[in-house]
Symmetry: C5
Subunit: 363 residues, 5 copies
């Protein structure tokens, strides 16, 4: 299952075990691991799916031409299965640990026995709670003529478009080696980040309108929630930044020179996504300021209303109090029009006050 930002407590499971002990730290899953072996070159394409490990044995009846084997493993929660695959391909125990550790941050690592290890995250927003971002852990092991991919679960396989393209026609991927396949798979993952980016952009747009129009119920906790998801996304994408430098090396026997411009292109997209996330973060910070100032402005408005009411009614309430006094000798009380004159005076006081506040621009 995919992972949310607050799951470090799962880590405890394998905390004090011997290094290289395989332990799955993600959410518990019931499904069996599914293994799909795809073999192809420019002239043929062959595919086999099973949850039995034997299907991933290299095909005996292979063609004369060299071909690419892609082992697509879906499910990383069964230490036994992962361990067996590791034994078959002689993968380093720490590499297998990283394959199963859903808290592992993205990285590229080269192992002594000629394996290139790439691990990164697939990001998507929860369909039911559309402001919650989820991450899936995906790893790739590139060997001389094969590629192994490990991903968390079956639902919504982001790699499907690449499989479809492989099947559909003899394109660039079919004519190239496993390095180009690695590129194609990483590219499709990074391309999906743009959907996440777009979702953030839409949320920000809505909030911007809310905040600027001054409609404020809940705004700040929404701002905080976007901020938290942005921080989460950035933390998982940021390490990809150095990835290309490690994939594009002059004399790497695994990644051929022809694939370098493609890898640089992925890097370009990663940089664009990071910069957009940073720009969003900066705008969020400004929106917080706008929001706080809106609150202050509104309080100002409330205070003015109160002050205007008080300043109008206090003087005239005082006046009516004066003529409610019981002194024996209050000459005004006995004049014929005292009452009406008092009304006049009070009207004038009121108008004076209103004029004063208009002059002060409070009205």
């Amino acid at each position: 299952m995919a992972t949310r930002i607050r799951t470090h407590r799962k880590q405890r499971k394998n905390l004090l075990t011997s290094p290289g002990t395989l332990t799955y730290v993600g959410k518990s899953v019931d499904i069996k691991t599914q293994i799909k072996r795809i073999e192809y070159n420019a002239s043929f394409y062959h595919e086999a799916i099973d949850s039995n490990l034997d299907v991933c044995l290299p095909r005996a009846e292979s063609t004369d031409q060299p071909f690419v084997t892609w082992l697509n493993v879906t499910g990383i929660h069964e230490p036994d299965v992962i361990g067996q695959i590791g034994k078959m391909y002689q993968l380093h125990p720490l590499m297998l640990e990283d394959v199963m550790n859903t808290d592992q941050k993205p990285k590229v690592e080269t192992y002594e026995n000629g394996h290139l290890f790439v691990t990164l995250k697939m990001l998507h927003f929860d369909e039911n709670s559309p402001t919650e971002l989820w991450a899936e852990h995906i790893s790739f092991v590139l060997g001389k003529n094969y590629l192994i991919s490990f991903q968390e679960e079956q639902s919504g396989d982001v790699l499907t478009p690449v499989i479809d393209r492989l099947k559909a026609s003899v394109g660039k991927t079919r004519r190239s080696g496993p390095d180009y396949l690695l590129y194609a798979l990483v590219d499709v993952i990074v391309d999906n980040y743009f959907l996440v980016l777009e979702n953030f952009g839409d949320q920000l747009d809505q909030l911007e309108d809310q905040v600027i129009s001054g409609y404020q119920s809940q705004s700040l906790s929404e701002l905080y929630s976007i901020k938290r998801e942005l921080t989460f996304a950035r933390r998982l994408i940021w390490p990809l930044r150095d990835m290309v430098a490690q994939l594009v090396r002059p004399d790497d026997p695994l990644v051929s020179k022809r694939v370098h411009p493609y890898m640089r292109d992925v890097n370009d997209h990663v940089m664009q996504i990071i910069e957009s996330l940073d720009a969003y973060r900066e705008l969020l910070a400004s929106l917080v300021d706008v929001h706080l100032s809106t609150i202050s402005n509104r309080m100002n408005q409330v205070m003015k209303t109160l002050t205007i009411f008080s300043a109008i009614f206090m003087p005239i309430t005082f006046i009516v109090g004066v003529y409610g006094m019981n002194f024996d000798n209050i000459p005004e009380l006995h004049t014929r029009n005292g009452y009406f004159i008092t009304w006049g005076v009070m009207g004038m006081v009121t108008l004076g006050m209103l004029g004063y506040f208009r002059w002060k621009k409070w009205l």
Copy 2:
């Protein structure tokens, strides 16, 4: 069409296609692509415009002397046209993708088959809504004796001054190669950034006066809007920072040593623009503080007014209440001048209060 900051959703169009598939992601456009071929050297100048691709074939009847060909393509929304040009000049499919991708950030890239690719943004403020900044995507491909420029649309071609200079007289550009032409075109684009900078400076000046004078209606959302456009502009200019380092390389066969000081000069201007944008950003942040403190000061003013009113009228209203009581035995009520003495006492209370507030510097 030019692009605004929030258009990542267009990206979805080519999200899961095969790499190198040409897709236009900007606003949809109806106009046909226009192709202008200019050929020149110190002794002749020739120009041809058409929307037909055949006009961009190298001229057969060329002079004996070497000459420079500039292919100025206006319109990057037709994959067919761009693809054909790419085939003719053997441009890398990823380069063509970047030419059409209006979301591509500025960069310089060298391709194996001897092409130097430069892509950057033309910035201008919307003429109708003068606080909205728009970006146009412009790309250049520098070859051995030709330069290809791709730009979004016709209206307001910023490259016109260079064409005019080429036509008008035999100047430095006419006597130099396509590397100098590239410089001249980039220079004219960067020079236009100063107009954007100036516009920001003017907006900031106005806001500064507004904020400091305390005139506050809408100030903060205007501050926010300038901030957003500044962030936008900075994000599109910042990558140019490293451009010169890639253009000025000791043994580059495409950019001759004579052009290096000119490229450095462009870099100088880019740095100046970035620093000005940063200074503006810092001042904006300070203006937000001034604005918030102005709101607070104003609320303080309102509170003081309310407090002064209350503090004056509450005591005297109490006094008139006292003599409005109906006790049988209130001696003061029956004195001859009780009423007038009461007025005197109330006057003194009022003066006392006023004095107290003057002493507290509230008046």
Copy 3:
């Protein structure tokens, strides 16, 4: 004893002494230093505990095969004991100073006579006061075929799991040299940081719920207290960042190439912890903003309540004041239903006010 963030005053003890003078600067301890000597290789395991220094002499009756000696010293407060160990293994006086200096920040240092010195911190939250983070000072000296570890006190020895694994079976550690043992020990310490991280995560989760739900008693001083502990933890973990670069060097005679991937794995975990701490720090900063805005919103609410009360009662209190005046000639007073009409008028004023405030969205 472990150390809290504010104990620089202990430093004064050895301030002006001759360099290399051994002085313990931590909390005073009564317990005697305990020394445990463990010797092992793939075929045997031998362990001896004593507070007598003689037990740490190399065993005479050693097997023919090479073996690893681990000297596990618990207690760093007795200059005599530390000094004697230093003499026996020819440790540099400054290294011993750092072993005893509980304020020493984590670092790796190579000494001329072939010692690799690693010092770092064990972190744990106080069991009684669960928001207080404590640090214990742990140092390692790696020699050609031995490892010396120095730690502060006995309670809760974090290295126990490694001892247990050594004893239990012949695993990777038993088959490897002291460099792998060093890795295993550092790994177990770094793994424990995840528990600290988890604790921070839980505290933050609780606070987040508190702050967003607007329940505010004490929130900010709790935010401050987490912030202080985060700053403390980060300051002690951050230096580990460069550790691996110093441990993984091409031609280091002490750390063999086979151990390099393991050291890099530790680095990976350190980086993940630092990034999580930074993400927490950033979220804390945002929570402060949410908290401040919640306070402001609440004050706004209070002000509105006051204003509504005042605006309703001031006018009607004025009206009843008017008909409490004692003018001889107030015609309304003598009408049959004046009193009831007045009630009606006051009811309408009240309803008007309530309508006004509902229109203003204050109700």
Copy 4:
């Protein structure tokens, strides 16, 4: 004329001209360019002033010994004059552009034909409006045995002290080459920055006293104004930071090794100035916080005053209201001392309130 921070609109003048076209972008000036030629070595000193360019021709009747020529040009607004000097000394057109461009930021540049170009800013506060900082553009061209200086205008020539020293006696400058003269001139400019720094320090001192004492009229807009000038100054001094690295190069034929320590000394001073400006900036930010908290404290004071008044007068005004009621049967009204007892009760309520507020520390 000197330049203020907001003058990018002048830039428009030469925006779309051919590169290298000389255009003056500063404030318009009426004065003619003045040219002063100084020739000296250890044994003689000769000086000639004119606005005629012919005076800057190298002297024919020179002594046998090598000598230094310093061409001190005052006035950079006449493209003709600058162009002619450029032709005479074969200066690069872009160098001349930078000489005339008063918006050019400080830099050091080496040109192919053996010229070292240094441009920087002279800063001073306006004498009439002592919080406005002005910048003058000064450039130096160092050749094999000559130095050319270009500065904006005559008033208050900062280079005078150096001329006086040259005239007065045979000191180090007279015995050295043009590289030492360049140092002496840059040194005198950087020394003048200390006066600017001192002025900032004084302004900050005054504001600090104002803000801390809580005297607040206009404080924040003054804080903003200092902030703006600090940002301005820092932007113009910061680039000097890298200057020395470019001036002190092992095999530079123009700047001899003997002058290197002097150049490093200037760098030292530049660093000290930048750090002071940064410290000032940080203190300014803290002062803003102090100021905002002072405003809040003051509002708190106002609110307390209002609350105390209300809490005292509301209850007793209510009491007098009670005995102003006209019920037939109010027994208290007819007791002998009811009126006086009521006064007593009201006094006690008042004292109770005062006690309550003293207990709450509001008084």
Copy 5:
């Protein structure tokens, strides 16, 4: 005399003088410069004090063994004395300028004629005004077999412990060269920084308690004052960060390899101090937030009190107003228990209000 942060105006004294002109810029001092010459090696120790320069001549009657000469100069305000010492040891004029310039920031510099120059600051809090930090300027010149130290004044010589150790016994310093002496002196100065750090820690502890307990009188200006001193201290310690890199160079003839670990140890301490200062700074920033939120909370409290009073007394004052009206026909007035029923109604209104506010959690 020691220096405070705001003394750049003294700089003016030597602003426009010829470079290398010796000018003292600190506070004026009356005392004569005191010169102490110490000569030692493992077998002898000799000391001579005078204010006469002749005492610093190398001793003629020296032993056969090589020995170290330490010239400890106290007083840097007499250009004559400093100049004479400079001539005797052939010190570069700019080095002497830096010795006398109390505004010079810490640095290490190597001069061509084999001198290593180190200048740094001695920091201590004012004994009378314990929150004011003072800095003393100390410089060292390391030669082949001698060390010269220059410090500002006599009171409280921080170097005394080293002199005492030299005199007391034949320790490491007596057996080593002037490079180890330099280390010992710098070490003692850096060790003293821990006292400053401790003082900051104590101030911060107190303030933290004050701020969190909500006792607020003056808190923010105290926060500001600590902030200012922290900024001051950091500015003077920060440059030491790069010091060790310049002191520990592979082939330096002046600092032997044996002293390198000691120099690195000093660096370690410097880094620890800088990090603590930074942690303090960060905590200060958080305390400001806590303080501001405390003020807001308090104002909230005041507002609630006011609102509760108003909401209780306004309705009941209205009621008593109603029965103070003089309408001829107010039936309630003539009922037997009207007065007492009114009291009951008012009591119920009061209780209702109290219940409402308790429900709103305001009470």
